[in-house]
C-alpha cells in the first residue's frame, strides 16, 4: 500500500514537473518578450526591465530561477496588472472558481447518482427512457451552448436571473447549472450501467434468498458496489469543472481563475499564464492522485501494484 501511494505521488510530481517545463518552453516560443506591447519604451528602459525580470540571462538560468521560485510559491509579477504578483491573483481568484466548481461537483454527484439508480431499477420503463435521453443529450451538448441558451432564456427572455457578476446567490444558479449539466449526465449514465452490472451479480440473488429487505439489499449491497466506479470519475470531474470554468466564467463574467486564465492568454500576460497553468495542473494532478488512492482503499478487490 505504502509503495503504491509513493509510486503514485512520485508520478504526480514527475507529471507536474513535465507540465511546468513544457509550459516554460512554450512560453519561450512567444516572440518579442513581454514588454514589446508597451508602446513608449526606450531601449535603455527596456534593457533595465529585462534585467529586473531576469530576462537578459540565458534561458537555462531563467528556467532554473523560475522553477526555484515557483517551488517557493513565487510565480513572479503580473505583466499587465502592475504591482500584483501572480500568487496574489491566484489566491484572490481561485476561491471564486472553487466555490462555483465545488457546488457544481456536489450537485452533479447528488443528481447523477440517484438518476442512474432510478434508471437502472426501472430498466426499460418510461423513467429509464427519459433518463437515457437526458444523459445522451447532456453528453453531446457543449458547455458553451448550455451557457448561452440558459443565459438567453433565464437572463434575457424571462429576466429572472442576473447574467453577469457574482453578487447574490441568484448569480450562482446559471453558472452552476451550466457547469454541472455534463457531469450529471455522465454520472447518471455511468451509474446506470454499473448498477445494472451489480444487479445481475450472484450476491444480489443470495441477499434476496437470505430474506433481506429490499431497502437493505439496495443500500447495503447494490449501491455500495455500484458507486465504486463513480469514484474514479471524480478526478476527471474536477479537471472538467476547472476547464469548464473557462467558458462559464467568460460567458457570465465571473471574476474567477478560469476567466483569468483565458483573459491572460488573450492579453499575452505570460507570467500569469504560466502561474495559472502550473497551479491548475498541480491541482488536477493532485486530485487525481488522491482519487486513485481513495479508490484503491475503497475497493478491496483492486490489487495494488
Amino acid at each position: 500500500m505504502g509503495k503504491y501511494i509513493l509510486k503514485r505521488v512520485l508520478f504526480g510530481v514527475l507529471t507536474l514537473f513535465i507540465v511546468a517545463t513544457l509550459t516554460f518552453v512554450l512560453m519561450q516560443q512567444v516572440p518579442g518578450g513581454p514588454f514589446v506591447a508597451e508602446k513608449s519604451i526606450s531601449a535603455a528602459a527596456m534593457q533595465a526591465m529585462r534585467e529586473k525580470y531576469g530576462l537578459d540571462k540565458p534561458v537555462i538560468v531563467q528556467y532554473w530561477n523560475y522553477m526555484k521560485n515557483a517551488l517557493h510559491g513565487d510565480f513572479g509579477l503580473s505583466l499587465k496588472e502592475r504591482g500584483r504578483t501572480v500568487a496574489e491573483i491566484i489566491s484572490t481568484k481561485f476561491p471564486v472558481s472553487a466555490r462555483i466548481g465545488g457546488i457544481s461537483i456536489v450537485l452533479a454527484l447528488c443528481l447523477g447518482i440517484p438518476l442512474g439508480c432510478v434508471a437502472a431499477l426501472h430498466r426499460g420503463k418510461t423513467a429509464d427512457n427519459i433518463i437515457i435521453v437526458f444523459s445522451t443529450m447532456g453528453i453531446a451538448v457543449p458547455s458553451f451552448v448550455i451557457c448561452t441558451v440558459l443565459m438567453y432564456f433565464f437572463g434575457v427572455e424571462l429576466g429572472w436571473l442576473p447574467t453577469y457578476g457574482l453578487t447574490s446567490w441568484k448569480n450562482y444558479i446559471m453558472p452552476v447549472m451550466a457547469l454541472s449539466f455534463y457531469p450529471t449526465a455522465y454520472i447518471a449514465r455511468q451509474m446506470r450501467s454499473s448498477m445494472l452490472d451489480v444487479l445481475g451479480q450472484d450476491y444480489m440473488r443470495t441477499a434476496k434468498a437470505k430474506g433481506l429487505s429490499e431497502t437493505k439489499i439496495l443500500y447495503k449491497h447494490a449501491l455500495r458496489n455500484a458507486i465504486l466506479p463513480i469514484i474514479t470519475y471524480v478526478g476527471p470531474l474536477i479537471a472538467y469543472t476547472l476547464t469548464g470554468s473557462f467558458v462559464v466564467e467568460k460567458v457570465f463574467t465571473i471574476p474567477g481563475l478560469g476567466g483569468e486564465f483565458v483573459s491572460s492568454i488573450l492579453n499575452q500576460d505570460y507570467m500569469v499564464i504560466m502561474g495559472t497553468t502550473i497551479f491548475l495542473a498541480a491541482l488536477i494532478i493532485f486530485m487525481n492522485v488522491v482519487v486513485d488512492i481513495g479508490y484503491t482503499i475503497a475497493d478491496p478487490r483492486i490489487k495494488l501494484r
Binding site: 507540465v19 516560443q29 516572440p31 443529450m137 438567453y152 483565458v262 491548475l280
Partner: protein, 348 residues
C-alpha cells in the same frame, strides 16, 4: 484417444479412395451462405434505428457543409452593404428595390450578421470547419495511437514498459490546459513559418487550426494507444500469429496483416467516438477565441460572436448551437451503434 480407436474402422477398403459422388458432395455444401464479419456487422447496424438516423443526419449535415456552399449564391466572407443584421428571411431596402425591379434575390434564410454576411452560408462553413477538424484530428490520433500502441504491445518487455510509462504521464497531463496554452504558443512560430517559401498552405489553413492538429497529435493519441495495445496483447497470443511467424513473416507484416486487421472493429468504434470529442474541443477553443482565424467561421466562434448581441439578435445563437449539438450527438450515437454492431462480445 481410445474412443477414436474404437470408432475408426481398422481395415481400409479400396472404396474409401474413390472420388466423392454428387450426393456426398451435397452434404458438404453450406446450409446458408457464410456471412463475413463486415456484412454481419452492417446488417446489425442497419437494424439499429437510432444509429441509422444519426448516420443520415451526418450525411445531410455533410452535404450542406461540403456540397451546398459551392453553389450557394453568397460567399462566407462576402459582406453585403446595407444588409447588416437582417432577421431570418428578411430583405434589406436595396434588395427589396431590386426585387421590385424583377430581379431575383436569394433570401437570407438565417438572416445576416453585423457585417452583412449571410448567416446560413457562415453556419454551413462553420460546420465544414468543425467536421474537417474532427475528421483530420481523428485520423492523426488513429495513426499515431495505433502505431505506438502496436509497437509497445508487440515488442513487450522493456520497450513496452518505457512506452507505456510515457503514455501514463501524458495521460495525466491536464489536456485542455495544454491545448489552450499550445494554441497560444504555437501561433507565432507557425506564423513565421507561413512567410517561408513553400509554406503558404499554413496561412490558407489558418495557424490556429494547425496548432489544434499538432496538439491532438501530441496529446490525444494516448487513449487510442492504450486500447490498441490491450487488443494486441490479446491477439498476439493467438495461434495464427505463431503460425505466421513460423512461416517467416516479418514483424511489420504480422502487425499490419494479422494484428491490425483483426482489431479493426474496435478501431472503427474508438475512431468514430473520437470524432465528436475532437469537434467538441475545437468548438471549445473557437468559443474562447483561440480557434480558427477570422473571417473563417467555426460553430464555436459563431456562437461566441452571437453572445454580444444576445438581447437583440438571439437567432444568431440558435443555428450554430443546435448544429454543433446535433453533430456531436449524431456521431456519439453512431459510434454507440457501431460498437453494438461490431463488438463480437455483444453478438446476439
Amino acid at each position: 484417444m481410445s474412443e477414436n480407436l474404437i470408432n475408426t474402422p481398422t481395415a481400409v477398403t479400396p472404396d474409401d479412395f474413390l472420388p466423392a459422388s454428387a450426393e456426398e458432395k451435397q452434404s458438404l455444401e453450406f446450409m446458408r451462405p457464410s456471412v463475413s464479419f463486415w456484412k454481419d456487422g452492417f446488417n446489425r447496424l442497419r437494424k439499429n434505428k437510432v444509429a441509422m438516423v444519426s448516420f443520415w443526419v451526418i450525411v445531410v449535415v455533410m452535404f450542406f457543409a461540403f456540397a451546398v456552399p459551392s453553389f450557394y449564391p453568397y460567399k462566407y466572407a462576402q459582406q453585403i452593404r446595407g444588409s447588416e443584421r437582417l432577421a431570418p428571411m428578411q430583405y434589406s431596402v436595396t434588395e427589396k428595390a431590386a426585387m421590385a425591379n424583377g430581379e431575383k434575390v436569394f433570401p437570407h434564410i438565417l438572416g445576416t450578421d453585423k457585417l452583412g454576411r449571410d448567416y446560413a452560408i457562415r453556419v454551413m462553413m462553420g460546420s465544414r470547419v468543425s467536421i474537417v477538424v474532427g475528421l483530420v484530428a481523428t485520423v492523426i490520433v488513429l495513426i499515431i495511437g495505433s502505431i505506438y500502441g502496436s509497437i509497445a504491445a508487440y515488442f513487450g518487455g522493456w520497450t513496452d514498459l518505457i512506452m507505456m510509462r510515457i503514455v501514463d504521464i501524458i495521460y495525466t497531463v491536464p489536456d485542455i490546459l495544454l491545448i489552450v496554452l499550445m494554441s497560444f504558443a504555437l501561433k507565432a512560430p507557425l506564423a513565421a513559418l507561413a512567410t517561408q517559401p513553400g509554406f503558404k498552405w499554413v496561412n490558407t489553413l489558418g495557424v490556429n487550426l494547425i496548432s489544434i492538429f499538432i496538439v491532438f497529435a501530441l496529446l490525444y493519441w494516448v487513449s487510442m494507444a492504450r486500447i490498441v495495445r490491450g487488443q494486441i496483447l490479446q491477439l498476439k497470443e493467438q495461434e495464427y500469429v505463431t503460425a505466421a511467424r513460423a512461416l517467416g513473416a516479418s514483424n511489420r507484416r504480422i502487425i499490419k496483416k494479422h494484428l491490425l486487421t483483426n482489431m479493426i472493429g474496435t478501431l472503427i468504434v474508438t475512431t468514430t467516438l473520437q470524432i465528436p470529442s475532437a469537434i467538441f474541443t475545437e468548438s471549445f477553443l473557437s468559443f474562447l477565441g483561440l480557434g480558427v482565424a477570422v473571417p473563417m467561421p467555426s460553430l464555436g466562434s459563431l456562437a461566441s460572436d452571437a453572445i454580444s448581441g444576445l438581447q437583440t439578435y438571439p437567432y444568431l445563437l440558435f443555428a450554430p448551437s443546435i448544429l454543433i449539438s446535433l453533430i456531436i450527438l449524431s456521431f456519439n450515437l453512431l459510434g454507440d451503434g457501431l460498437r453494438d454492431a461490431f463488438d463480437p462480445k455483444l453478438k446476439n
